[in-house]
Protein backbone atom coordinates (compact mmCIF):
# COMPACT_ATOMS: atom_id res chain seq x y z
CA UNK A 1 0.00 0.00 0.00
CA UNK A 2 2.90 2.30 0.91
CA UNK A 3 4.56 1.46 -2.40
CA UNK A 4 1.36 2.33 -4.24
CA UNK A 5 1.14 5.79 -2.65
CA UNK A 6 4.87 6.35 -3.31
CA UNK A 7 4.46 5.60 -7.03
CA UNK A 8 1.25 7.63 -7.18
CA UNK A 9 2.99 10.66 -5.62
CA UNK A 10 5.98 10.20 -7.92
CA UNK A 11 3.69 10.02 -10.94
CA UNK A 12 1.77 13.16 -10.00
CA UNK A 13 4.84 15.17 -9.03
CA UNK A 14 6.50 14.22 -12.35
CA UNK A 15 3.33 15.06 -14.24
CA UNK A 16 3.01 18.44 -12.52
CA UNK A 17 6.71 19.14 -13.17
CA UNK A 18 6.26 18.29 -16.86
CA UNK A 19 3.18 20.49 -17.10
CA UNK A 20 5.12 23.34 -15.49
CA UNK A 21 8.03 22.93 -17.93
CA UNK A 22 5.56 22.80 -20.83
CA UNK A 23 3.96 26.07 -19.70
CA UNK A 24 7.38 27.72 -19.26
CA UNK A 25 8.32 26.59 -22.77
CA UNK A 26 5.09 28.06 -24.15
CA UNK A 27 5.85 31.31 -22.33
CA UNK A 28 9.29 31.45 -23.97
CA UNK A 29 7.82 30.48 -27.36
CA UNK A 30 5.43 33.41 -27.49
CA UNK A 31 7.94 36.11 -26.64
CA UNK A 32 8.58 38.90 -29.12
CA UNK A 33 10.66 37.69 -32.12
CA UNK A 34 14.15 39.12 -32.53
CA UNK A 35 13.76 39.59 -36.27
CA UNK A 36 10.43 39.32 -38.11
CA UNK A 37 12.09 38.56 -41.46
CA UNK A 38 13.99 35.54 -40.11
CA UNK A 39 10.86 34.22 -38.41
CA UNK A 40 8.86 34.66 -41.61
CA UNK A 41 11.52 32.69 -43.50
CA UNK A 42 11.29 29.94 -40.89
CA UNK A 43 7.47 30.05 -41.13
CA UNK A 44 7.59 29.51 -44.92
CA UNK A 45 10.06 26.67 -44.55
CA UNK A 46 7.89 25.02 -41.86
CA UNK A 47 4.78 25.55 -43.96
CA UNK A 48 6.41 23.51 -46.69
CA UNK A 49 7.88 20.85 -44.40
CA UNK A 50 4.93 20.32 -42.06
CA UNK A 51 1.96 21.35 -44.19
CA UNK A 52 2.43 21.07 -47.94
CA UNK A 53 4.49 17.89 -47.57
CA UNK A 54 1.51 16.26 -45.82
CA UNK A 55 -0.86 16.86 -48.73
CA UNK A 56 -0.09 13.57 -50.48
CA UNK A 57 -0.72 11.26 -47.53
CA UNK A 58 -3.82 13.21 -46.48
CA UNK A 59 -5.23 13.06 -50.02
CA UNK A 60 -4.72 9.30 -50.40
CA UNK A 61 -6.13 8.45 -46.96
CA UNK A 62 -9.13 10.78 -47.32
CA UNK A 63 -10.07 9.48 -50.75
CA UNK A 64 -10.00 5.82 -49.72
CA UNK A 65 -11.55 6.27 -46.28
CA UNK A 66 -14.38 8.33 -47.86
CA UNK A 67 -15.07 5.44 -50.22
CA UNK A 68 -14.93 2.84 -47.43
CA UNK A 69 -17.22 4.87 -45.15
CA UNK A 70 -19.79 5.09 -47.95
CA UNK A 71 -19.67 1.34 -48.65
CA UNK A 72 -19.87 0.43 -44.95
CA UNK A 73 -22.75 2.85 -44.35
CA UNK A 74 -24.59 1.43 -47.34
CA UNK A 75 -24.00 -2.07 -45.98
CA UNK A 76 -25.45 -1.10 -42.59
CA UNK A 77 -28.40 0.87 -43.99
CA UNK A 78 -29.45 -1.82 -46.41
CA UNK A 79 -33.16 -1.46 -45.73
CA UNK A 80 -35.91 -0.75 -48.28
CA UNK A 81 -37.50 1.72 -45.82
CA UNK A 82 -34.38 3.92 -45.69
CA UNK A 83 -33.80 6.11 -48.76
CA UNK A 84 -30.38 5.77 -50.42
CA UNK A 85 -29.49 9.43 -49.95
CA UNK A 86 -29.31 8.77 -46.17
CA UNK A 87 -26.07 6.95 -46.92
CA UNK A 88 -24.61 10.18 -48.29
CA UNK A 89 -25.84 12.14 -45.26
CA UNK A 90 -24.18 9.66 -42.91
CA UNK A 91 -20.96 9.72 -44.96
CA UNK A 92 -20.92 13.52 -44.97
CA UNK A 93 -21.45 13.78 -41.23
CA UNK A 94 -18.83 11.11 -40.44
CA UNK A 95 -16.23 12.79 -42.62
CA UNK A 96 -16.94 16.41 -41.68
CA UNK A 97 -17.46 15.91 -37.96
CA UNK A 98 -14.92 13.26 -37.10
CA UNK A 99 -12.82 11.63 -39.78
CA UNK A 100 -11.21 14.70 -41.36
CA UNK A 101 -10.58 16.85 -38.29
CA UNK A 102 -9.74 14.13 -35.76
CA UNK A 103 -8.41 11.09 -37.58
CA UNK A 104 -6.34 13.14 -40.03
CA UNK A 105 -4.97 15.15 -37.09
CA UNK A 106 -4.01 11.88 -35.39
CA UNK A 107 -2.19 10.83 -38.54
CA UNK A 108 -0.45 14.21 -38.62
CA UNK A 109 0.50 13.78 -34.96
CA UNK A 110 2.48 10.75 -36.10
CA UNK A 111 3.99 12.31 -39.19
CA UNK A 112 4.57 15.91 -38.09
CA UNK A 113 4.95 15.25 -34.35
CA UNK A 114 7.79 12.77 -34.74
CA UNK A 115 9.48 15.08 -37.24
CA UNK A 116 9.36 18.06 -34.85
CA UNK A 117 10.46 16.09 -31.77
CA UNK A 118 13.35 14.38 -33.55
CA UNK A 119 14.53 17.59 -35.26
CA UNK A 120 14.54 19.60 -32.04
CA UNK A 121 15.97 16.64 -30.11
CA UNK A 122 18.87 16.31 -32.54
CA UNK A 123 19.48 20.04 -32.33
CA UNK A 124 19.52 19.80 -28.53
CA UNK A 125 21.99 16.91 -28.31
CA UNK A 126 24.29 18.45 -30.93
CA UNK A 127 24.27 21.74 -28.95
CA UNK A 128 22.69 23.72 -31.81
CA UNK A 129 20.03 25.01 -29.40
CA UNK A 130 22.78 26.11 -26.98
CA UNK A 131 24.52 27.83 -29.91
CA UNK A 132 21.35 29.85 -30.61
CA UNK A 133 21.07 30.75 -26.94
CA UNK A 134 24.68 31.99 -26.75
CA UNK A 135 24.09 34.12 -29.87
CA UNK A 136 21.28 35.86 -28.02
CA UNK A 137 18.49 34.20 -30.00
CA UNK A 138 15.49 32.85 -28.07
CA UNK A 139 15.62 29.24 -29.34
CA UNK A 140 12.12 28.33 -28.12
CA UNK A 141 10.60 31.22 -30.00
CA UNK A 142 12.69 30.89 -33.16
CA UNK A 143 12.33 27.12 -33.46
CA UNK A 144 8.78 26.55 -32.21
CA UNK A 145 6.64 29.65 -32.88
CA UNK A 146 6.97 29.46 -36.71
CA UNK A 147 6.03 25.76 -36.57
CA UNK A 148 2.92 26.47 -34.50
CA UNK A 149 1.96 29.31 -36.86
CA UNK A 150 2.60 27.15 -39.94
CA UNK A 151 0.52 24.18 -38.80
CA UNK A 152 -2.25 26.29 -37.23
CA UNK A 153 -2.51 28.12 -40.56
CA UNK A 154 -2.24 25.10 -42.86
CA UNK A 155 -4.01 22.37 -40.87
CA UNK A 156 -7.49 23.88 -41.46
CA UNK A 157 -6.70 24.06 -45.21
CA UNK A 158 -5.50 20.47 -45.12
CA UNK A 159 -8.66 19.37 -43.35
CA UNK A 160 -10.93 21.16 -45.84
CA UNK A 161 -9.06 19.38 -48.65
CA UNK A 162 -9.46 16.11 -46.72
CA UNK A 163 -13.21 16.68 -46.35
CA UNK A 164 -13.58 17.42 -50.06
CA UNK A 165 -11.55 14.36 -51.08
CA UNK A 166 -13.35 12.15 -48.56
CA UNK A 167 -16.66 13.13 -50.13
CA UNK A 168 -15.21 12.59 -53.61
CA UNK A 169 -14.10 9.12 -52.47
CA UNK A 170 -17.66 8.47 -51.31
CA UNK A 171 -18.96 9.64 -54.67
CA UNK A 172 -16.60 7.30 -56.54
CA UNK A 173 -17.73 4.40 -54.35
CA UNK A 174 -21.37 5.27 -54.85
CA UNK A 175 -21.13 5.29 -58.63
CA UNK A 176 -19.22 2.02 -58.36
CA UNK A 177 -22.52 0.32 -57.58
CA UNK A 178 -23.54 1.38 -54.07
CA UNK A 179 -26.13 3.98 -55.10
CA UNK A 180 -26.90 6.45 -57.83
CA UNK A 181 -24.76 9.57 -58.21
CA UNK A 182 -27.88 11.77 -58.01
CA UNK A 183 -28.89 10.27 -54.66
CA UNK A 184 -25.36 10.71 -53.32
CA UNK A 185 -25.13 14.37 -54.35
CA UNK A 186 -28.65 15.06 -53.08
CA UNK A 187 -27.74 13.42 -49.76
CA UNK A 188 -24.68 15.64 -49.36
CA UNK A 189 -26.86 18.77 -49.54
CA UNK A 190 -29.84 17.67 -47.41
CA UNK A 191 -29.99 19.28 -43.96
CA UNK A 192 -26.47 20.59 -44.36
CA UNK A 193 -25.40 22.57 -41.29
CA UNK A 194 -22.51 24.96 -42.02
CA UNK A 195 -21.74 25.17 -38.30
CA UNK A 196 -20.38 21.63 -38.51
CA UNK A 197 -17.60 22.93 -40.72
CA UNK A 198 -16.88 25.73 -38.23
CA UNK A 199 -16.81 23.17 -35.41
CA UNK A 200 -14.41 20.97 -37.38
CA UNK A 201 -12.11 23.89 -38.17
CA UNK A 202 -12.00 25.05 -34.53
CA UNK A 203 -11.02 21.50 -33.54
CA UNK A 204 -8.40 21.39 -36.26
CA UNK A 205 -6.83 24.64 -35.10
CA UNK A 206 -6.62 23.41 -31.51
CA UNK A 207 -5.20 20.04 -32.62
CA UNK A 208 -2.52 21.77 -34.70
CA UNK A 209 -1.44 23.75 -31.65
CA UNK A 210 -1.36 20.62 -29.49
CA UNK A 211 0.60 18.55 -32.03
CA UNK A 212 3.34 21.16 -32.45
CA UNK A 213 3.63 22.37 -28.87
CA UNK A 214 3.64 18.91 -27.27
CA UNK A 215 6.05 17.45 -29.82
CA UNK A 216 8.30 20.49 -29.48
CA UNK A 217 8.29 20.09 -25.70
CA UNK A 218 9.53 16.50 -25.98
CA UNK A 219 12.19 17.46 -28.52
CA UNK A 220 13.36 20.63 -26.80
CA UNK A 221 14.09 18.99 -23.45
CA UNK A 222 15.85 15.85 -24.71
CA UNK A 223 18.84 14.87 -22.59
CA UNK A 224 21.27 12.23 -23.78
CA UNK A 225 21.90 11.03 -27.32
CA UNK A 226 20.35 9.36 -30.34
CA UNK A 227 18.44 6.74 -28.33
CA UNK A 228 16.82 9.40 -26.13
CA UNK A 229 15.88 11.40 -29.25
CA UNK A 230 14.06 8.31 -30.55
CA UNK A 231 12.38 7.65 -27.21
CA UNK A 232 11.20 11.26 -26.96
CA UNK A 233 9.92 11.24 -30.56
CA UNK A 234 7.75 8.25 -29.64
CA UNK A 235 6.58 9.96 -26.45
CA UNK A 236 5.73 13.05 -28.51
CA UNK A 237 3.49 11.06 -30.85
CA UNK A 238 1.76 9.17 -28.04
CA UNK A 239 1.21 12.27 -25.89
CA UNK A 240 -0.06 14.48 -28.70
CA UNK A 241 -2.41 11.68 -29.84
CA UNK A 242 -3.82 11.36 -26.32
CA UNK A 243 -4.13 15.14 -26.08
CA UNK A 244 -6.05 15.20 -29.38
CA UNK A 245 -8.47 12.48 -28.23
CA UNK A 246 -9.12 14.12 -24.86
CA UNK A 247 -9.48 17.64 -26.26
CA UNK A 248 -11.72 16.25 -29.02
CA UNK A 249 -14.15 15.10 -26.35
CA UNK A 250 -13.95 18.39 -24.46
CA UNK A 251 -14.40 20.55 -27.57
CA UNK A 252 -17.31 18.43 -28.76
CA UNK A 253 -18.95 18.80 -25.36
CA UNK A 254 -18.50 22.58 -25.47
CA UNK A 255 -19.23 23.25 -29.14
CA UNK A 256 -21.91 20.73 -30.05
CA UNK A 257 -23.89 19.95 -26.92
Amino acid sequence: MQNYSYFRDMFFSKWIESLGKYMVLLGRTFRRPENGKMYYKAFLSDLDLLGINSLGIVAVISLFVGAVVTIQTAFNLDDPLIPDYYIAIATRESIVLEFSPTIISLILAGKVGSNIASTLGSMRVSEQIDALEVMGVNPASYLIAPKIAALAFFNPILIIISMALGLVGGYLASIGGVMSAEDYIYGLTVDFNAYHITYALIKTFVFAFLIVSISAYFGFYVRGGAIEVGINATKAVVSSSVAIIVSNYMLTQVLLV
Partner: protein
Protein backbone atom coordinates in the same frame (compact mmCIF):
# COMPACT_ATOMS: atom_id res chain seq x y z
CA UNK B 1 37.86 41.14 -18.73
CA UNK B 2 35.70 38.54 -17.05
CA UNK B 3 35.75 38.13 -13.28
CA UNK B 4 34.30 35.15 -11.51
CA UNK B 5 33.65 35.30 -7.78
CA UNK B 6 32.94 32.24 -5.66
CA UNK B 7 30.61 30.51 -8.11
CA UNK B 8 28.84 27.34 -7.12
CA UNK B 9 26.71 25.01 -9.19
CA UNK B 10 25.01 21.76 -8.25
CA UNK B 11 22.96 19.25 -10.20
CA UNK B 12 20.64 17.68 -7.68
CA UNK B 13 22.76 16.47 -4.76
CA UNK B 14 25.98 16.62 -6.78
CA UNK B 15 27.97 19.85 -6.37
CA UNK B 16 30.04 20.36 -9.53
CA UNK B 17 31.48 23.83 -8.96
CA UNK B 18 32.56 24.42 -5.38
CA UNK B 19 33.25 28.14 -5.12
CA UNK B 20 35.58 29.10 -7.96
CA UNK B 21 37.27 32.50 -8.20
CA UNK B 22 38.96 33.42 -11.48
CA UNK B 23 39.85 36.28 -13.80
CA UNK B 24 40.09 36.13 -17.59
CA UNK B 25 42.01 38.88 -19.33
CA UNK B 26 41.41 40.87 -22.49
CA UNK B 27 43.66 40.15 -25.47
CA UNK B 28 44.90 36.93 -23.86
CA UNK B 29 44.12 33.27 -24.39
CA UNK B 30 42.81 32.18 -21.01
CA UNK B 31 42.79 28.42 -20.59
CA UNK B 32 40.74 26.29 -18.24
CA UNK B 33 42.35 22.90 -17.81
CA UNK B 34 41.50 19.83 -15.80
CA UNK B 35 40.68 16.16 -16.07
CA UNK B 36 37.49 14.96 -17.72
CA UNK B 37 34.67 15.33 -15.20
CA UNK B 38 36.45 18.03 -13.21
CA UNK B 39 33.72 20.57 -14.00
CA UNK B 40 35.38 22.49 -16.88
CA UNK B 41 32.43 22.38 -19.26
CA UNK B 42 29.93 23.24 -16.52
CA UNK B 43 32.19 26.15 -15.58
CA UNK B 44 32.38 27.40 -19.17
CA UNK B 45 28.63 27.00 -19.72
CA UNK B 46 28.01 28.85 -16.45
CA UNK B 47 30.20 31.70 -17.69
CA UNK B 48 28.04 32.21 -20.79
CA UNK B 49 24.81 31.74 -18.86
CA UNK B 50 23.81 28.37 -20.32
CA UNK B 51 23.76 27.07 -16.74
CA UNK B 52 22.27 29.25 -14.02
CA UNK B 53 24.72 29.33 -11.11
CA UNK B 54 23.48 28.65 -7.57
CA UNK B 55 25.59 31.39 -5.99
CA UNK B 56 28.50 33.71 -6.71
CA UNK B 57 28.99 36.39 -9.33
CA UNK B 58 30.17 36.59 -12.94
CA UNK B 59 31.17 40.05 -14.16
CA UNK B 60 31.75 41.07 -17.77
CA UNK B 61 33.87 44.23 -17.68
CA UNK B 62 32.25 45.20 -14.41
CA UNK B 63 28.69 44.24 -15.38
CA UNK B 64 27.26 41.41 -13.27
CA UNK B 65 25.61 38.76 -15.47
CA UNK B 66 23.18 37.80 -12.70
CA UNK B 67 21.90 41.35 -12.32
CA UNK B 68 20.95 41.79 -15.96
CA UNK B 69 17.36 41.72 -17.15
CA UNK B 70 16.40 39.60 -20.17
CA UNK B 71 16.96 42.41 -22.67
CA UNK B 72 20.38 43.38 -21.35
CA UNK B 73 21.45 39.75 -21.12
CA UNK B 74 20.46 39.29 -24.76
CA UNK B 75 22.42 42.37 -25.70
CA UNK B 76 25.48 41.07 -23.79
CA UNK B 77 25.18 37.76 -25.59
CA UNK B 78 25.54 39.45 -28.96
CA UNK B 79 29.04 40.37 -27.72
CA UNK B 80 29.88 36.71 -27.14
CA UNK B 81 31.02 34.05 -29.57
CA UNK B 82 31.25 30.41 -28.70
CA UNK B 83 32.89 27.41 -30.33
CA UNK B 84 31.27 24.22 -29.09
CA UNK B 85 33.00 20.89 -28.60
CA UNK B 86 30.93 19.28 -31.39
CA UNK B 87 30.94 22.54 -33.42
CA UNK B 88 27.12 22.88 -33.18
CA UNK B 89 26.89 24.13 -36.77
CA UNK B 90 23.35 24.36 -38.14
CA UNK B 91 23.47 21.34 -40.41
CA UNK B 92 20.59 22.33 -42.68
CA UNK B 93 22.19 25.71 -43.48
CA UNK B 94 25.11 26.39 -45.80
CA UNK B 95 28.45 27.52 -44.41
CA UNK B 96 27.72 31.12 -45.41
CA UNK B 97 24.29 30.99 -43.75
CA UNK B 98 25.91 29.57 -40.62
CA UNK B 99 28.50 32.34 -40.48
CA UNK B 100 25.97 35.11 -41.16
CA UNK B 101 23.17 33.71 -38.99
CA UNK B 102 23.67 36.13 -36.08
CA UNK B 103 24.14 39.03 -38.51
CA UNK B 104 20.85 38.19 -40.22
CA UNK B 105 19.14 38.02 -36.84
CA UNK B 106 20.57 41.14 -35.21
CA UNK B 107 22.00 43.50 -37.83
CA UNK B 108 20.55 45.63 -40.58
CA UNK B 109 23.27 44.58 -43.04
CA UNK B 110 22.35 44.07 -46.68
CA UNK B 111 22.84 40.67 -48.32
CA UNK B 112 26.03 41.93 -50.03
CA UNK B 113 27.46 43.26 -46.76
CA UNK B 114 26.72 39.97 -45.03
CA UNK B 115 28.41 38.06 -47.81
CA UNK B 116 31.47 40.31 -47.52
CA UNK B 117 31.57 39.68 -43.79
CA UNK B 118 31.23 35.91 -44.31
CA UNK B 119 34.05 36.00 -46.87
CA UNK B 120 36.23 37.98 -44.45
CA UNK B 121 35.59 35.61 -41.53
CA UNK B 122 36.13 32.48 -43.65
CA UNK B 123 39.32 33.89 -45.11
CA UNK B 124 40.48 34.77 -41.62
CA UNK B 125 40.20 31.13 -40.63
CA UNK B 126 41.91 30.09 -43.89
CA UNK B 127 38.80 28.57 -45.39
CA UNK B 128 37.82 30.55 -48.48
CA UNK B 129 35.49 29.23 -51.17
CA UNK B 130 33.31 26.95 -49.08
CA UNK B 131 30.37 29.38 -48.71
CA UNK B 132 27.79 27.24 -50.47
CA UNK B 133 28.79 23.89 -48.97
CA UNK B 134 26.96 22.25 -46.08
CA UNK B 135 28.74 21.37 -42.80
CA UNK B 136 28.50 17.63 -43.52
CA UNK B 137 30.59 18.16 -46.68
CA UNK B 138 33.58 19.42 -44.66
CA UNK B 139 36.20 17.60 -42.58
CA UNK B 140 36.29 17.90 -38.76
CA UNK B 141 39.09 20.49 -38.84
CA UNK B 142 37.30 22.56 -41.48
CA UNK B 143 34.06 22.42 -39.48
CA UNK B 144 35.97 23.68 -36.44
CA UNK B 145 37.26 26.59 -38.48
CA UNK B 146 33.71 27.38 -39.67
CA UNK B 147 32.61 27.32 -36.02
CA UNK B 148 35.36 29.84 -35.23
CA UNK B 149 34.36 31.98 -38.22
CA UNK B 150 30.74 31.95 -37.00
CA UNK B 151 31.86 32.83 -33.49
CA UNK B 152 33.80 35.92 -34.66
CA UNK B 153 31.22 37.08 -37.22
CA UNK B 154 29.66 39.59 -34.82
CA UNK B 155 33.04 40.96 -33.73
CA UNK B 156 32.63 39.64 -30.20
CA UNK B 157 34.39 40.99 -27.14
CA UNK B 158 34.35 37.57 -25.53
CA UNK B 159 35.17 34.26 -27.21
CA UNK B 160 34.55 30.91 -25.52
CA UNK B 161 35.82 27.60 -26.85
CA UNK B 162 34.90 24.23 -25.41
CA UNK B 163 37.58 21.64 -26.22
CA UNK B 164 38.40 23.17 -29.63
CA UNK B 165 40.95 20.43 -30.38
CA UNK B 166 38.89 17.39 -29.52
CA UNK B 167 38.75 14.89 -32.37
CA UNK B 168 41.45 16.66 -34.39
CA UNK B 169 44.84 15.32 -35.44
CA UNK B 170 47.86 16.97 -33.73
CA UNK B 171 48.78 19.06 -36.78
CA UNK B 172 45.28 20.45 -37.26
CA UNK B 173 45.03 21.00 -33.50
CA UNK B 174 48.12 23.24 -33.62
CA UNK B 175 46.64 25.20 -36.55
CA UNK B 176 43.42 25.76 -34.58
CA UNK B 177 45.38 26.79 -31.46
CA UNK B 178 47.45 29.29 -33.39
CA UNK B 179 44.37 30.64 -35.11
CA UNK B 180 42.63 31.19 -31.77
CA UNK B 181 45.67 32.98 -30.37
CA UNK B 182 46.04 35.17 -33.46
CA UNK B 183 42.41 36.29 -33.56
CA UNK B 184 42.42 36.89 -29.80
CA UNK B 185 45.29 39.34 -30.18
CA UNK B 186 44.05 40.81 -33.47
CA UNK B 187 40.51 41.54 -32.26
CA UNK B 188 41.49 42.25 -28.62
CA UNK B 189 39.02 39.67 -27.31
CA UNK B 190 38.80 38.01 -23.93
CA UNK B 191 39.18 34.39 -24.99
CA UNK B 192 38.42 31.53 -22.64
CA UNK B 193 39.32 28.04 -23.82
CA UNK B 194 38.44 24.78 -22.15
CA UNK B 195 41.00 22.11 -22.89
CA UNK B 196 42.89 19.11 -21.62
CA UNK B 197 45.35 19.21 -24.52
CA UNK B 198 48.76 19.88 -22.95
CA UNK B 199 50.15 21.00 -26.27
CA UNK B 200 47.61 23.86 -26.32
CA UNK B 201 48.51 24.72 -22.75
CA UNK B 202 52.18 25.15 -23.57
CA UNK B 203 51.70 26.72 -27.01
CA UNK B 204 49.02 29.33 -26.35
CA UNK B 205 48.36 29.43 -22.60
CA UNK B 206 48.73 33.10 -21.66
CA UNK B 207 46.78 32.57 -18.45
CA UNK B 208 45.82 29.14 -17.14
CA UNK B 209 43.40 27.97 -14.50
CA UNK B 210 43.55 24.38 -13.33
CA UNK B 211 40.31 22.94 -11.97
CA UNK B 212 40.21 19.82 -9.87
CA UNK B 213 37.05 18.37 -8.33
CA UNK B 214 35.13 21.59 -8.93
CA UNK B 215 37.73 23.85 -7.29
CA UNK B 216 40.51 26.03 -8.66
CA UNK B 217 43.67 24.15 -7.75
CA UNK B 218 46.25 26.32 -9.51
CA UNK B 219 46.68 29.32 -11.83
CA UNK B 220 49.60 30.66 -13.80
CA UNK B 221 51.09 30.93 -17.29
CA UNK B 222 52.14 28.38 -19.89
CA UNK B 223 55.76 28.73 -18.82
CA UNK B 224 55.05 28.52 -15.11
CA UNK B 225 53.08 25.30 -15.51
CA UNK B 226 56.24 23.42 -16.51
CA UNK B 227 58.24 24.57 -13.50
CA UNK B 228 55.63 24.65 -10.74
CA UNK B 229 55.97 22.39 -7.70
CA UNK B 230 52.22 22.28 -7.07
CA UNK B 231 51.67 18.54 -6.69
CA UNK B 232 48.17 18.54 -8.16
CA UNK B 233 49.19 20.30 -11.36
CA UNK B 234 52.35 18.20 -11.60
CA UNK B 235 50.24 15.03 -11.33
CA UNK B 236 47.99 16.29 -14.11
CA UNK B 237 50.61 17.68 -16.49
CA UNK B 238 53.13 14.88 -16.12
CA UNK B 239 50.72 11.99 -16.24
CA UNK B 240 52.03 10.94 -19.68
CA UNK B 241 55.46 9.36 -20.27
CA UNK B 242 56.31 12.01 -22.85
CA UNK B 243 55.87 14.86 -20.40
CA UNK B 244 57.69 12.94 -17.68
CA UNK B 245 60.69 12.79 -20.05
CA UNK B 246 60.38 16.52 -20.75
CA UNK B 247 60.34 17.24 -17.01
CA UNK B 248 63.48 15.19 -16.44
CA UNK B 249 65.24 17.22 -19.13
CA UNK B 250 64.07 20.56 -17.70
Amino acid sequence: MIEVKEIRKSFGEHEVLKGIDASFYKGKTNLIIGQSGSGKTVFLKSLVGLHEIDSGEIEYDGTALGGLNRKDRKSLRTEMGMVFQGNALFDSLTIEENVTFALSMFSEMSAAEKKDRADFCLERVNLPGVNQKFPSELSGGMQKRVAIARAISMNPNYLFCDEPNSGLDPKTAIVIDQLLQEITQEFEMTTVINTHDMNSVIEIGDHIIFIKDGKKAWQGTGEEILSTDNTEIVDFVYSSELFKKIRRKL
